[in-house]
């Protein structure tokens, strides 16, 4: 059974419909890229999948392999975080709240696992640094480590590379791709269709028209041809 099956989903804010006709499946090991114009409802879709808001109608079914709080989430950057006094390790440890539940304190082995995730993402030596002093790329790695600590099976990443310079962006894509190769299922919102097609296995396009399928199918579809026109660097 698939990790996640979505059927006929309609997204809305206060009964105002944002996007409709959304259907897709995510299987273990997939790398799904969600693309679409600004304001087409990509962030809203993620929040709805996470249960942060209610769908207008439609079906969201999580498969046997996964429970709702086994999903790691990297939100679009909000400004409250910018001047927040928190160290890198405090933030990554906060990913453990899914496992701790009602328990007030985190256990030693849980913290060790969080530290291992920091090593995996090459931020172990930043452990005691303050989040607000890090570069954009380092901050995103911290949030990715937190998501990974919350759940290693399925990650929902909302524009993890927005605002990063090209070199750091490339590194970030590499890190995410490595995670995927090591068995983490990825759902990522991306602006960069070229990079999306390079790394992803599947594409979900939402907007006036919707599409779901593999990268090859997307390139062959009218919507895909239209949206990728002008993108030169497509390496499939």
């Amino acid at each position: 059974m698939a990790f996640l099956t979505v059927k006929d989903l309609v997204l809305a804010y206060d009964r105002k419909i944002i996007a409709e006709n959304i259907g897709f499946t995510v299987n273990e090991g997939d790398y799904l890229c969600i693309v679409g114009e600004n304001g087409s409802g990509k962030t809203t879709l993620m929040k709805t999948l996470l249960g942060l808001q209610q769908p207008y109608s439609g079906e969201i079914v999580f498969g046997d392999g996964i429970r709702k709080n086994e999903i790691g989430y990297l939100p679009q950057q909000t400004d409250i975080q910018r001047d927040f006094p928190a160290s890198v390790r405090e933030i990554v440890f906060s990913g453990l709240q899914a496992k701790a539940g009602m328990r007030p304190f985190y256990r030693k082995y849980e913290k060790e696992e969080a530290l291992r995730n920091m090593e995996r993402l090459d931020i172990a030596e930043l452990s005691k640094r303050s989040y607000r002093e890090l570069s954009g790329g380092q901050q995103q790695r911290v949030l990715l480590a937190r998501a990974l600590t919350a759940a290693g099976k399925l990650l929902l990443l909302d524009e993890p590379v927005s605002g990063l310079d090209p070199i750091v962006t490339k590194e970030m894509y590499q890190v995410i791709s490595d995670l995927n190769r090591n068995g983490t299922t990825i759902m990522m919102i991306s602006h960069d269709i070229g990079q999306a097609l390079k790394y992803a296995t599947h594409i979900l396009h939402i907007g006036d028209m919707t599409f779901f399928g593999t990268c090859d199918e997307y390139l062959a579809s009218p919507l895909g041809r239209m949206f990728t026109a002008g993108v030169t660097e497509v390496q499939v």
Binding site: L50, Y73, F84, S87, Q97, P104
Partner: protein
């Protein structure tokens, strides 16, 4: 000077004031960071006015223990404010401003109409600025203040990780299965209790300063949540202690002296932060 202080310390009311002052200062600083960062400071401000109104009602009813009215009213208002504040449709901010200014006016009106005291403006002044309240504590007041403070501190420690998580990133916490609504409710109720407690110390107009100043000072110097929390608690306790001692020796009003100490500490922290550039590890 020292002799004078030692002489004063022999009086139980001075010891009581110091004990209560230190306890209240400690717990009022704990939630400061969260209130500032969650943009909840306005709730604290509004609640202090509600507490003033409730205090006036308690006075009119002639209750010997004002807490019986002030505490529940303030807690309920905290919950209401939190709920309306989150609801964009009702214009939460305007609603809170209305409740708080309304209670202020209503409280003063009540005190004016029903007061039997010959020194009305003195009464109003002491409710607003705390003046000598702290020096008139009974043993029971001391016990109640200490018990409530300890409860607040214990709850804060037990929920520390979740309060941090929800303050830093509410959406992530919800996605991870934390009931962020409940944590926000807890924060609001604790804020209400702290405000009622702090009213004894500095009066209702100066409460926000007691809650916010230590947190702002600590944020100038430290870059992680734990150090900020610990330092603001320590700073708050030191300022409250100094403020009470100075006010006894110099005969200044207790509340304003404590807040002046907090403000001075903030300026010092700001300068140190500027000079050093960036924050400590």
């Amino acid at each position: 000077m020292i002799d004078k202080l030692i002489m004063y310390l022999r009086y139980p009311f001075v010891t009581y004031a110091l004990i209560v002052g230190v306890m209240i200062a400690l717990c009022s600083s704990l939630l400061g960071v969260t209130l500032v960062l969650k943009r909840f400071s306005y709730i604290g401000d509004g609640l202090s006015h509600v507490a003033f109104g409730a205090m006036a009602v308690a006075g009119v009813l002639g209750l010997t223990n004002e807490l019986l009215i002030v505490l529940p009213v303030t807690v309920i208002s905290a919950v209401l404010m939190l709920m309306t504040g989150r609801n964009a449709k009702i214009k939460g901010d305007a609603m809170i401003a209305m409740i708080s200014v309304g209670s202020l006016a209503f409280g003063y009106l009540l005190m004016n109409i029903f007061s039997t005291s010959s020194n009305l403006s003195g009464d109003v002044c002491s409710t607003l600025f705390g003046s000598t309240l702290i020096l008139t504590l009974s043993v029971r007041d001391v016990i109640i203040s200490c018990v409530l403070s300890v409860i607040v501190i214990v709850i804060f420690i037990l929920f520390y990780n979740r309060i941090f998580a929800v303050t830093f990133d509410e959406d992530f916490s919800k996605a991870a299965g934390t009931d962020a609504g409940r944590i926000n409710l807890l924060i609001a109720v604790m804020t209400a209790v702290i405000i009622v407690l702090a009213m004894n110390l500095v009066g209702s107009l100066l409460i926000s300063a007691l809650v916010i100043f230590p947190a702002l000072s600590a944020m100038r110097l430290f870059g992680n949540f734990r150090d900020v929390t610990v330092f603001s608690a320590v700073l708050s306790v030191i300022c409250a202690f100094l403020g009470i001692v100075i006010s006894i020796l110099a005969g200044t009003p207790v509340g304003s002296t404590i807040v002046a100490a907090d403000a001075a500490a903030f300026i010092v922290c700001m300068i140190i932060g500027k000079v050093r550039g960036g924050t400590a590890v």
